[in-house]
């Protein structure tokens, strides 16, 4: 009992814990448990339960198909319009869900933050996992749509995990920034819904980004979700959907910057979370 872990722990002002990443690994079980709790609680005391994760994207998809595909008659890059819309909606819903869960995660767990020690990174990370589960569930709709339209994806579908990873980094990066800022400035409580609402219009969710005039496409990619969604479409639809590489690389660069910056800012501010939350 007495012999193990006799390493000496030093607590000092401004000391960046060298053990942080080791601690993160040691607390991985807490990470599982928090994610498990959030998933378990998410649809408690609802009648149709997890079916909500199917219904919401399904109805949105129908609306977008009718408005953009049937009324506005936008092009669909060679695939049935619903599949084109859904290939964009999957990452978008993942991103928006993760962003709102993540940015609120520290506030909703404030009792934990102020009473127990653990690497704080666990909280927003497990919030993203919950949205990822919704993402996987919604993915089943895509499979159903493909079966319905007899749509066979090309070899590019195999690259999808890479784009999922990019979507993950984008959600996590933005989420970390907002979560850390939200602890100190509750203004971000109002900023997040705005970002999500606004983002839906400026991201190519209901329409392909190929309809954006060529000279603007590079600038358009300043929205990192443009690269993520284009990547998803490229992998899922195949065929005519072409990746506009300069804009994709710009988005990818921004995602990496967002993710790295998010971790850096979170680590910088997390030491004072318990004092200001």
């Amino acid at each position: 009992m007495v012999n193990h872990s006799q390493t000496e722990l030093i607590i000092e002002a401004g000391r960046t814990e060298t053990q942080y990443w080791k601690d993160l690994w040691r607390y991985r079980e807490l990470f599982y448990f928090l994610a498990w709790r959030d998933i378990l609680v998410r649809y408690k005391q609802t009648v149709i339960g997890i079916a909500w994760a199917l219904i919401r994207p399904f109805l949105t998809m129908i609306v977008f198909t009718v408005v953009f595909g049937n009324l506005a008659k936008l092009p669909s890059e060679g695939a049935p319009y619903p599949i084109m819309v859904f290939a964009g909606m999957l990452p978008w819903q993942f991103f928006s869900g993760a962003l709102s869960e993540c940015s609120n995660s520290l506030i909703t767990n404030s009792n934990l933050i102020s009473k127990v020690y653990f690497p704080r990174l666990i909280v927003p990370a497990s919030a993203v996992i919950v949205s990822f589960v919704d993402f996987l569930v919604a993915g089943m709709i895509l499979l159903a749509l493909m079966a319905w339209y007899n749509f066979v994806p090309s070899w590019r579908i195999l690259t999808l995990p890479v784009f999922i990873l990019i979507a993950f980094a984008a959600s996590m990066g933005a989420g970390l920034w907002l979560a850390a800022l939200n602890v100190k400035y509750r203004d971000f409580r109002y900023v997040v819904p705005f970002i999500i609402q606004f983002g839906l219009y400026i991201s190519p969710v209901g329409f392909p980004s190929s309809i954006v005039p060529q000279q603007w496409r590079f600038l358009y990619a300043l929205n990192p979700m443009v690269g993520v969604i284009d990547g998803f479409r490229w992998a899922i639809i195949g065929g005519q959907a072409e990746l506009y590489w300069p804009s994709f690389l710009l988005s990818l660069g921004l995602v990496i910057l967002l993710f790295g910056g998010g971790i850096w800012y979170f680590r910088k501010t997390e030491r004072t979370f318990a004092d200001v939350i």
């Binding site: 390493t7 807490l30 020690y117």
Partner: protein, 425 residues
Amino acid sequence: MSETVIRVENLSKKYIIGHQKQERYTALRDVLAEGAKSIGRKLLKPGKRVSDPGGEEFWALKEVSFEIKQGDRVGIIGRNGAGKSTLLKILSRITEPTSGRISIKGRVASLLEVGTGFHPELTGRENIYLNGAILGMSKAEIKKKFDEIVAFAEVEKFLDTPVKRYSSGMYVRLAFAVAAHLEPEILVVDEVLAVGDAQFQNKCLGKMGEVAREGRTVLFVSHNLSAVQSLCQTGIYLDSGKINTIGNISTTLAAYQQTVFDNSTGKSETIEVAQGQVKFTKWQLAGSLTQHEHSCYSREECKFVLTLVTRRQITGVNIGFAIWNSDEKLIIAASSLDGGKTYLSLEEGVYEFVFKVRLPLKSDTYHLDVSVNTDEGQLDRWQPATQLLVLPNLQTNLPEIWQGLLNEEVEFELQNVSTPILEGN
């Protein structure tokens, strides 16, 4: 065994407390406004630094240093806001110190609140796993102790009910049960015993005593002084962020009680005695070892001095004297007639009556009850607001439930009735 496990050197923690600001959190607009203001100031008066007028520094801890050895049971006491909880928070790495250094050897588990992270929607079973993980237990560890935890909490029947439907007692029992089965080398506990009924509190104290007996280091913050006294052998008395007293628990507790008492005597009454009236105006203890006129040590010979003012002549006088404990139980009563003494006759003037008594009482506050009775009936009965404080001076290892009203010294001796016959010699 007596290796130093926690060494704290010059630990300080500063908080900035905002004055006029109402919000609990900073709003972005304030930061922007302050930023703009300070730029403006720099432009107008370059080279001059202006501090933030809205904030004031508050040192929750100031230059605190101490050492804790392996297996010590340390009680941290002090008034609200003395920095006890801040100290525990820094020790358990929840918040970081402003300056100073702490080195800790061994795994620390902190229990600053019962039921941290319990989710009302989850069942008892699920919450045991969740709470265990939050407190730092591994899944395997929780699984191993699961039955023990459930038995301790006495919630077998409700394991699959969401805890939001639990009674508050069941909730607290379950929460403490999880925490009680932690096995860290250093256990940090803050005021958790303030919840639950008396029986459960005793169970918790017993469990904590058990943990301590296993040779683990325990840091315990509580306002329940007798719990601290029964559980800990060392005490740290914090007063406005600084260490006032450190050392043996009895010494520390006595020092603490003394200051608490000094602060509460400000409200002693001044009594006006009008023409024709008879009234008690003052009471005090003379010659107590505590050097304090309203407190004494348990089992010490006490001289209670009662001052009576009479503004007329009275005859057939007897003085009554009684002491009640904080549960309104009569401890002792006496009268000036006891032992066959005669009635007194008093001229107009000021008198002092002395009751000499040895009080073998447990450490607590008591209140006096005095009266002056004559042929005409009771002329005055006075229950002074200033209470009597009895301080402990007896070392005991008994837990709180085994502390009786009396704190009398009991002699113990071992007598050998027969010596065993040593065989084979």
